[in-house]
């Protein structure tokens, strides 16, 4: 039986899709059987980040509406054979998702995989609430910035009221991934500090992903950052996050890019 993770944030552009792809790839790299599901119907991106945009035939809507079988819609990753993608439809909108259809698809995915990671759309409307509906674990992605923190707080409120687990009175694990963090700017007060965000949201921290050009580079190449640059700071943060999700105790550090003195001198000269 798979564990269902929803990656959500409320606000857009904070790194949900990047996080979904990175966590999915890192879990698959650790030998787990993983499916990443794009719930952002109408604005799909996960296929691009995963580098599978040319291979999409059927999508989530087709499966939800019974036009295609789940196995027809799933796309196996070319690099990691335990990683699969269920893409969203770009031509439809979120109203095409039905409660029963989503429940059935999630039920089928639960049978097939160890982990199912649902990439939630931004907002708090139908798409987002359906993506979180069946989750066992929620990963809340937040930027160290006030509007993102407030929107995440709103989402946590919804996780505690609108999910199946919450309605049954069961516990829903909630974790925070702080993305685009810059220790220097936080120190100078240009950004919220980690402890400020944790104090407001009061959920356990899963990872701090530093701001890095490696993320954009990986996205443009269509490869999850944990696969494209496994030694980079963001990749190490995601790999640690996955170890924590699997129950390991890993010391919480904010990874930084290692640069030699020579490298620093070089970049300065270049600038």
């Amino acid at each position: 039986m798979a564990k269902i993770i929803v990656v959500t944030s409320g606000k857009g552009g904070v790194g949900k899709t990047t996080t979904t792809a990175a966590l999915g790839a890192a879990l698959a790299q650790a030998g787990q059987n993983v499916c990443v599901v794009d719930f952002d119907v109408g604005l799909r991106n996960l296929d691009l980040i995963m580098g599978a945009e040319r291979r999409v035939v059927y999508d989530l809507i087709n499966v939800v509406q019974g036009d295609a079988k789940l196995t027809q819609a799933l796309i196996r990753d070319k690099r990691l054979d335990t990683l699969a993608l269920l893409p969203a439809s770009q031509t439809r909108d979120k109203d095409a998702l039905t409660d029963e259809g989503v429940a059935r698809v999630i039920g089928e995915l639960r049978e097939k995989f160890d982990w199912v990671i649902c990439d939630s759309p931004a907002g708090i409307e139908r798409g987002a609430t359906l993506a979180m509906r069946h989750a066992d674990i929620a990963v809340v992605v937040t930027n160290p910035e006030v509007s993102s923190v407030r929107d995440s707080d709103r989402i946590i409120g919804l996780l505690d009221s609108k999910t199946e687990r919450a309605e049954k009175g069961e516990h829903l694990e909630k974790h925070l991934i702080l993305t685009r963090y810059d220790p220097g700017r936080a120190e100078r007060g240009e950004m919220l500090k980690i402890e400020d965000v944790l104090e407001i949201l009061s959920i356990p921290l899963l990872a701090v992903v530093p701001e890095s050009e490696e993320v954009l580079k990986a996205s443009n190449l269509g490869s999850p950052v944990t696969l494209n640059a496994p030694q980079s700071a963001p990749a190490r943060a995601y790999i640690d996050a996955v170890r924590r999700l699997r129950g390991e105790t890993v010391e919480m550090i904010v990874p930084s890019e290692k640069r030699s003195l020579l490298g620093k001198l070089f970049t300065r000269r270049a600038a």
Binding site: R150, D151, D153, R154, G157, D160, S202
Partner: protein
């Protein structure tokens, strides 16, 4: 009061330390009944009104305005009041004294008790009659609610016990708690964009970053207490303050907010 002490030198410190009589002023709303001549017609109107709304005068302070009777030469006989007798055009009626005692008795028989008489000559009133009042101002009264049909008189609902609400989890942005009666206690924080409306007081054992409105529905004694004061809006009994108009020195401190007269007061708890 001091004059009493002058006469007796034997009075010791006991009476001197005795506190002065607690006299306080207080104003009430009262219904004013202004009888008009002919009294027979007026009483039949009154009877019809009482029949339609039997509770109209019950447990209400009722004042008798006798200005309409000044010209009516009434004399003792209560039976005369019952007969619809046209007012006599009496030229020296102004000198006549209306029978206020008879009128008060008539009203008493209908269950209406008069607590004072207004616009009467002092001479009209004897010691057995309600006192003369002056200085009354017109005020709005709630109209009789049941003018349409005589409703069966319901037993008054037992006053509901105020119950308090305890929230174990933090209140997240977008969540709203409305608790019209009693206090609300939050064990965690109230996030920016969350709100609490309570009939009673609000106690927050975390940070207050959202809105807290206590005493909603009219309770000026309600308070707001929190461990960390960073509110967006606070209010008690209809008086509000936004974050901009609170003392910046209180920010992030443990603070209580209460109502003093018509002003919201707030102070650090420690």
């Amino acid at each position: 009061m001091a004059s009493g002490n002058n006469s007796s030198t034997a009075v010791t410190s006991i009476s001197l330390t005795r506190p002065s009589l607690p006299l306080r002023g207080r104003s009430f709303r009262a219904l004013v009944l202004a009888p008009e001549t002919p009294l027979g017609d007026w009483f039949s109107h009154l009877d019809a009104l009482v029949q339609r709304s039997p509770t109209l005068f019950s447990e209400r302070a009722v004042i008798l305005d006798v200005s309409g009777l000044a010209k009516d030469p009434l004399r003792g006989d209560a039976a005369r009041l019952e007969t619809a007798e046209p007012a006599e055009d009496d030229t020296d009626a102004a000198a006549a004294t209306p029978d206020i005692a008879g009128l008060v008795d008539e009203l008493k028989q209908r269950g209406i008790r008069i607590m004072g008489v207004e616009k009467a000559e002092p001479a009209w009133l004897g010691p057995a009659l309600p006192p003369l009042l002056s200085g009354g101002r017109p005020a709005e009264m709630a109209p009789p609610a049941d003018v349409k049909a005589p409703e069966p008189v319901k037993a008054p609902e037992p006053p509901r016990k105020p119950n308090s609400l305890v929230l174990e989890n933090p209140l997240r942005s977008g969540q709203s708690v409305y608790h019209p009666e009693g206090d609300v206690t939050v064990m965690g924080s109230v996030a920016s964009g969350a709100e609490i409306l309570a009939g009673g007081s609000i106690h927050i054992y975390g940070a207050l970053r959202g809105r807290a409105i206590a005493g909603a529905g009219g309770n000026p004694r309600a308070r707001i207490c929190c461990r960390k004061f960073e509110p967006e809006l606070i209010g008690i009994d209809g008086l509000f303050r936004t974050a901009d108009t609170t003392d910046p020195k209180l920010r992030k401190k443990a603070v209580q907010v209460w109502l003093e007269g018509e002003t919201l007061r707030m102070a650090a708890l420690d």
